[in-house]
Amino acid sequence: MASHVFGPVPSRRLGLSRGDKIKIAILVAMVAAVPAWLVIPWAQRHLEDFFSEARAQVFGQVLIAILLEAFPFVLVGAIVSGLIEVLVPAEKLARLIPKSLPARLAVAPLLGIILPVCECGVVPVVRRLIKKGLPLEMAVVYLLSGPILNPIVLASTVMAFSRTRPWWAMPAARAGLGILIAVAVGLVLFATSRKRPAAMAETAPDSPCGGKSVLVHILHHAANDFLLLGGFLLLGSMIAAAAQVFVPRTVLVSIGQEPFAASAGMMALAFVLNLCSEADAFVAASFVQFTFASKLAFLVLGPMLDIKLVAMYLGALPRRILVIVLLVVPPLVLVLSELVGRILEVAG
């Protein structure tokens, strides 16, 4: 039976012996050593000079700070995601689908706790669940609220806002609004079509990585997720760091003081930053000048809708879901965040 391997063609196929490979490696190292010896100190000197400049230093420090703080959560999320991917059969969950609409909508957010994945991981899971017969409205509620109700996301929100008073306000408001908006979108979806969606035209092949080496597969998926989420976290952190350096504080403060404009601005930021829900709370907390409502809008919209998610929804889910999410989610987040912000202000 032919063995099934991944990655580049083994060098054995090129006819290289172990000794040949060692000789080539030594040769490459020797050839590379000369320019490296010249270039590395030069690059190091110039980089150190560059980062001695005040703006560059602040940019670098904020960038590294956000990454250092967020990456443990991304790592835990990636490992949990790997465990779920390998150990939890989605089909068994699908068999537990309730019959009535209210029960479905009530149960769907709980999937976010049973299958705790972030917004990137939830898309393939939802796609699989829809294909296995999960009703669309239930799938969309899980899709939108799951990444917010993920215990790791909630824990990171608690941690990021632990020194604000009261400490539970932001995590509770985020979770509550996440469920409310997800259920509202589910209802709209249910109201607009009662038909069961046709099976996806494109059927995803079974993972070629399926097998008995469970730990290896978990590690493989975790590494992939870590790379994926880490990459988006890095991009978002760079934009956030640049914003902190190059956007004058007076501008941020003026945006932060106008109620609806501040929330709209933060929602636009969430859409553009593409932050992972496991890390976005730390970024939101760093915008100290912004109102509670605008930070809430940032934290609720981000896991539901951003640039990378639009692409993933487009590629993995029925178009109707994307259209309804685009039309319903932003206005609801804007209005409800402001409402919750006002209520908390009045409550003191």
Binding site: A2, S3, H4, V5, F6, G7, P8, P10, R12, R13, L47, E48, F50, F51, S52, A54, R55, Q57, V58, G60, Q61, L63, I64, A65, L67, L68, E69, F71, P72, L75, V76, I79, A160, R163, T164, C209, G210, G211, K212, V216, H217, L219, H220, A222, A223, N224, L227, G230, G231, L234, S237, M238, A240, A241, Q244, R249, V283, A285, S286, V288
Partner: protein, 246 residues
């Protein structure tokens, strides 16, 4: 046909970010530079995660070696799946180099005067809010003054009676400032440098113009409750503390 018993081989694109980022975080921790970016608690969390990453790298490396060996043994009938990682996958993996290079090139110091000014250092409303939010900072005797934090000095500026106090911070000078004034600043962080808020106290000292921004100093003096300024008796240049934040 795929062999269900065949585990996937992890590519170097997956492995190196674990090694690179794990080693980078461990390096920052070992050099005591974590406090330039994070509160100490979060620093421990980050180094714990770095240890997990390094462990994952070691496991992944062993798996890779085993797979390579197996492939070499069965190379005659190997069925290669795909042509290795995609270009986007490789770019994503290489992106992890950016923070490592930036982190190694950064000077060994905390947030600077520019960040303090951009975040509202010297803004009386912000200072009053921060000072009022927290309990009165404690003092201990040093050189005949009540040694406290910059926040402690800011809080004592609000007291009706003059207080003899001293504190450690860095100098921030603005162009508009009179030559005999400077701001004594220390950042307070919630989680990391990204959310750091500057606590700044205006200091009156005749030789203030001789000081440079970002210079760390110990200031001893007496609060002036009416002018809301610390009138310095002496200003001693000193080194930046290992943890520059409060």
């Amino acid at each position: 046909m795929s062999n269900p018993n065949q585990p996937p081989r992890l590519s170097w694109w997956e492995l190196w970010p674990m090694l690179g980022w794990g080693a980078f975080v461990a390096y920052l921790y070992a050099k005591g530079r974590m406090t330039l970016f994070l509160r100490p608690l979060y620093g421990h969390l980050a180094v714990g995660a770095a240890a997990v990453l390094l462990l994952c790298f070691v496991c992944g490396w062993f798996v890779r070696q085993r797979s390579l060996k197996r492939e070499a043994e069965h190379s005659h009938d190997a069925h290669v799946c795909g042509a290795g990682p995609s270009a986007w996958f490789a770019v994503r993996s290489l992106m992890f180099l950016v923070p490592i290079v930036v982190g190694l090139a950064l000077p060994e110091r905390g947030l600077n005067a520019l960040a303090a000014l951009q975040r509202g250092a010297g803004d009386p409303a912000m200072l009053a809010e921060l000072a009022a939010q927290q309990q009165l900072a404690e003092t201990h005797e040093e050189q005949g003054y009540g040694w406290t934090t910059v926040l402690g000095v800011a809080q004592r500026l609000r007291l009706p009676e003059p207080q003899k106090v001293g504190a450690l911070g860095f100098v921030v000078r603005q162009e508009k400032m009179p030559p005999d004034h400077f701001l004594l600043v220390r950042f307070q962080i919630t989680c990391c440098a990204a959310d750091a808020s500057p606590i700044a106290v205006p200091v009156h000292w005749p030789q203030a113009h001789t000081l440079e921004s970002n210079q760390w100093v110990k200031v001893f003096g007496q609060t002036d409750p009416e002018a809301k300024v610390l009138v310095a008796d002496k200003v001693e240049p000193t080194r930046e503390p290992s943890n520059p934040y409060m």
